[in-house]
């Protein structure tokens, strides 16, 4: 059960991270397009700034993704050990009285 909860946590963490990235980059894209519509001659500079900001926000989201990967890796590594422990404990309980 603990490992199931752990994997759920990894999934929710990664999903929340990409949710934040989507919101941030969406806002940046919207503001950039609005700026370009107000002043078309500044479109080149605005596009460059938009790409740079998008790269930063994506980098921040990927920090969280790296942590999710690490957590998943730790869970994967410990999973076989926990399965061995389960079978060793259940055997005495299955003995008939």
């Amino acid at each position: 059960m603990d490992f199931g909860l752990g994997y759920i946590g990894v999934g929710i963490g990664a999903g929340l991270a990409i949710l934040g990235a989507g919101l941030g980059i969406g806002r940046i894209g919207g503001q950039a397009v609005e700026g370009m519509s107000r002043q078309p001659e500044a479109a080149g500079k605005i596009q460059t700034a938009m790409l740079i900001s998008a790269a930063f926000i994506e980098g921040a989201a990927l920090f969280a993704l790296v942590i999710a990967f690490q957590a998943g890796g730790v869970l994967n590594k410990e999973l076989p050990n926990s399965l061995k422990a389960h079978t060793a404990v259940e055997q005495p309980a299955a003995q008939p009285k």
Binding site: T48, L51, I52, A55, G59, L62, V66
Partner: protein
């Protein structure tokens, strides 16, 4: 019309990673962690140890879980496996061989270009030198000069080299493994051929050691520039002007110690995660074909993998640019007191 046909053919060729599975394993379940381990993580390829002791397979000290087990051919077609114990171990791994290949391509790209341009800097030589000059002019005028307040001249060499090294490393991680292709074409087993060992096709900057080193040199530059431009006054000058003195015990450790370390850490993880995440998505998408073993999944899988592949090419350029931009920004901001 021809261009459209070629574009479609090119996109289909990007599905070459399908052939990564050889025919004898049709009955096994698809092992995504194993595939990720094979394609994304580092593995030892060639031994290089100074002063260590070889421990062969049958001996009592042989450690099966040692990551650097090599095979040695003795007479009579027998291969014995061994690993080293002790000594100064510098075994050549996949990242190292790919880094040498990237360096080789950097040298054959830029040394002729530099020679041609240095012959006559004012003349337009060819499209090749024009392309390189364009990129370098953009980097100089838009990235380094504004951020370094005109003091950028000592840093041009390092920052241009940094940009092109990261760019070529990122791009060479996207080219399929030429070593495996050559091994398949010449009939060898692609997983155990020496051609695969040389050109394994993995991303050099997808390893935390490489990105930590690159960010560490940025860290060294931040402190070095601060001390070079402001002398020993760099230490009190880290705190900006006009900060009231009760805030100093909080602000000085933040500004002098934690801020450069946080910047270097962010540089490390940004480059590492951007380079690795795309590959994981591509492998997972293409792995759907092996997992479901149905023809219906193929168009979706290949289409999605192609789209992510093109995004990865874009991300390769952007990440190299961002790393250089941030390095010049951080170094420039430590030249003068704020």
């Amino acid at each position: 019309m021809i261009k459209k046909i070629l574009l479609i053919l090119f996109s289909l060729c990007l599905s070459f990673p399908i052939f990564a599975n050889e025919s004898g394993h049709a009955s096994e379940a698809f092992d995504l962690p194993g595939i990720i381990d094979h394609h994304l993580y580092d593995h030892a390829e060639f031994p290089l140890n100074f002063g260590g002791v070889k421990v062969y397979e049958g001996d009592k000290d042989f450690d099966k879980t040692n990551p650097a087990i090599f095979e040695e051919h003795v007479e009579g077609n027998v291969t014995k496996r061994y690993h080293f114990v002790g000594g100064f171990d510098m075994h050549i791994t996949r990242r190292v061989t790919m880094m040498w290949i990237v360096t080789f391509f950097l040298l054959i790209t830029f040394i002729p270009a530099a020679r041609m341009i240095a012959n006559n800097p004012l003349k337009v030589h060819s499209r090749f030198t024009g392309a390189i000059e364009t990129v370098l002019e953009y980097l100089r005028k838009e990235v380094i000069d504004p951020n370094m307040h005109g003091h950028g001249h000592p840093y041009y060499h390092y920052l241009f080299s940094l940009f092109f090294f990261i760019l070529f490393c990122n791009l060479f991680g996207l080219i399929p493994s030429v070593g495996e292709i050559l091994a398949m074409v010449t009939g060898q087993d692609p997983h155990h051929s020496v051609l695969t060992k040389i050109w394994s096709g993995i991303t050099v900057t997808g390893d935390v050691s490489v990105t930590v080193t690159l960010a560490g040199s940025t860290l060294f530059l931040i402190y070095g520039t601060g001390f070079a431009y402001q002398g020993i006054r760099f230490i009190p000058n880290s705190v900006p002007n006009g900060v009231p003195w009760p805030l100093w015990p909080l602000l000085w450790p933040l500004e002098f110690i934690i801020s450069p370390i946080a910047k270097a850490f962010a540089l490390t993880v940004r480059l590492l995660a951007n380079m690795t995440a795309g590959h994981v998505v591509i492998l997972a998408l293409l792995g759907f074909i092996f997992e479901f073993r149905s023809y219906a999944i193929v168009p979706i899988s290949i289409g999605g993998a192609t789209a992510i592949y093109l995004l990865e090419i874009f991300v390769a350029f952007v990440q190299a640019f961002i790393f250089t931009l941030l390095t010049s920004l951080f170094v420039g901001s430590s030249m003068h007191r704020h």
